[in-house]
């Protein structure tokens, strides 16, 4: 009887244990996905000029930039460009489209994980029709050939960014990595 009782207890505890393990794994997975797909963006708008940046504009820039990078990382990971049209235009959109086509051609994929963007607005045009920002990004970059990771690094990258207002959002028109500002 005791062993039956023990067995019964074990059987009653098994689903609970399995559920806890699953939850832990699921939690880790969520953490991983969240870290990979939701970039952190912090904007410093104090140094911008000649036009001052209004609070609502600063919020919109941060939010749109975050979505742009989220879409960009998803696009580079999946080699699918449809999500790029929302937050990229002009030269940036053309270059990224070409980059995806090249990745597809060579069988490569890139992952930008755990992104942390420190944005600094350095120029806001007198009429508010263009803004230049400097982005210092810390992230993990993985390059995959097929399913094999051929490169994995913790990188600090610097980007010069030009954004212009579109109908209901700010769009990245230039995204140019530089060695230093």
């Amino acid at each position: 009887m005791p062993h039956l009782f023990a067995g019964s207890l074990f059987h009653r505890r098994l689903p609970v244990t399995a559920a806890i393990v699953c939850l832990c794994l699921f939690g880790l997975r969520i953490d991983r996905v969240a870290a990979g797909s939701l970039p952190q963006v912090e904007l410093n708008a104090n140094a911008a000029g000649p036009r001052a940046i209004e609070n609502l504009t600063a919020q919109a820039i941060s939010e749109n930039y975050r979505h742009a990078w989220q879409n960009l990382s998803e696009a580079l990971d999946s080699n699918s460009s449809h999500s790029l049209d929302l937050y990229f235009g002009g030269t940036a959109r053309a270059q990224l489209g070409q980059a995806l086509a090249e990745q597809e051609r060579t069988g490569l994929r890139s992952r930008y994980l755990n992104q942390d963007h420190k944005l600094e607005a350095v120029f806001y045009a007198p009429e508010g029709d263009v803004m230049e920002l400097h982005d210092t990004t810390q992230c993990e970059i993985q390059v995959l050939d097929g399913g094999k990771v051929i490169h994995d690094e913790q990188a600090v990258l610097h980007y010069v960014v030009l954004m212009t207002p579109a109908a209901d959002r700010w769009v990245i028109r230039q995204l140019q990595a530089v060695h230093r500002f």
Binding site: E102, L108, A125, P126, E127, D129, V143, I150, L162, Q174
Partner: protein, 284 residues
């Protein structure tokens, strides 16, 4: 696995022959050839991932790898990876070439004359591959109304941008706005229009139907004719109260017909400008 580990932690291990080495250039101009040196023996897989281009090819170690101008057209970070049993990587940056195009934004397209700090222009210089030039570049701005120079200013770009802000001129008409970088010029046109009317003068006379009022030719304070279609409001005040007639300027003059038989005061206004007052006696 152990062999790979030994190779990594003990450089003099004979297995070092299995490792690869690559040396990337320190500076590459967009659209020029680039050379990457490799060390080792055997055949490896070489990758380059750039802002708009990816390369994957087999290379023989110990030989130089040439990147063609088309493969490094976009300025930015390039990641070179060389894989044998393990992968080595190094990055390098491609910088923009000479200025080949200007993005020149000028505002507004129409501006009243004599407005303070009312015209602005912003220039971003780009190379022929649409890379933003971040090194300082001198931009010459010129504003010309007819043959007269209204402004001439040199501004050096900072972080890839140069801008100006200035007053509008005194005369209505086309204003040529020019930005020049190393012989490369871009033109924009701003239409300068008359400002608010200045010294609005009205005259009136009795007619059989009432009062006929008209302005003298309406001009701004610089003497430019105010555009046709600008509204002038005529007011007539008599014992019954005040009545107003809005009339557009036609060929420089606004006219209105008002019905009043008793003594009346006639006045006119356009925008924020008030004209003179006329007192007319009763109809005889």
């Amino acid at each position: 696995m152990a062999v790979i580990c030994l190779a990594v932690i003990w450089p003099s291990n004979p297995c070092l022959a299995q490792t690869v080495e690559l040396r990337v250039p320190t500076a590459v101009i967009a659209g020029s050839r680039a050379t990457i040196a490799t060390a080792g023996t055997g055949e490896a897989t070489f990758y380059v991932i750039g802002p708009s281009h990816s390369v994957k090819r087999k290379v023989r170690l110990g030989q130089e790898i040439q990147l063609q101008p088309d493969e490094v057209r976009s300025a930015g970070r390039y990641l070179a990876i060389l894989c044998l049993e393990v992968c080595q990587s190094a990055d390098f940056y491609v910088t923009p070439g000479d200025a080949a195009g200007l993005s020149f934004l000028v505002h507004p397209s129409r501006v009243p004359v004599r407005q303070s700090e009312s015209i602005s222009g912003t220039v971003f210089p780009f190379d022929k591959f649409h890379n933003l030039l971040l090194a300082p570049v001198k931009v010459d701005f010129r504003l010309m109304a007819g043959d007269a120079d209204l402004m001439s200013r040199s501004v050096t770009t900072q972080s890839g941008v140069a801008w100006f802000r200035t007053h509008s001129g005194k005369q209505a008409g086309s204003l040529q706005v020019v930005a020049v970088v190393k012989g490369l010029s871009v033109h924009r046109v701003v239409q300068q229009v008359a400002s608010d009317p200045c010294d609005l003068r009205v005259r009136a006379q009795r007619t059989k139907k009432g009062i006929s009022a008209e302005t003298e030719p309406v001009r701004d304070c610089s003497g430019n004719p105010v555009p046709d279609g600008t509204i002038v409001s005529f007011s007539e005040t008599d014992a019954r109260g005040t009545s107003t007639v809005d009339a557009p300027i036609k060929q420089g003059v606004a006219r209105a017909q008002m019905t009043a038989s008793g003594p009346a005061v006639i006045s006119a206004a356009s925008g924020v400008v008030m004209g003179n007052e006329l007192r007319l006696g009763a109809q005889p």
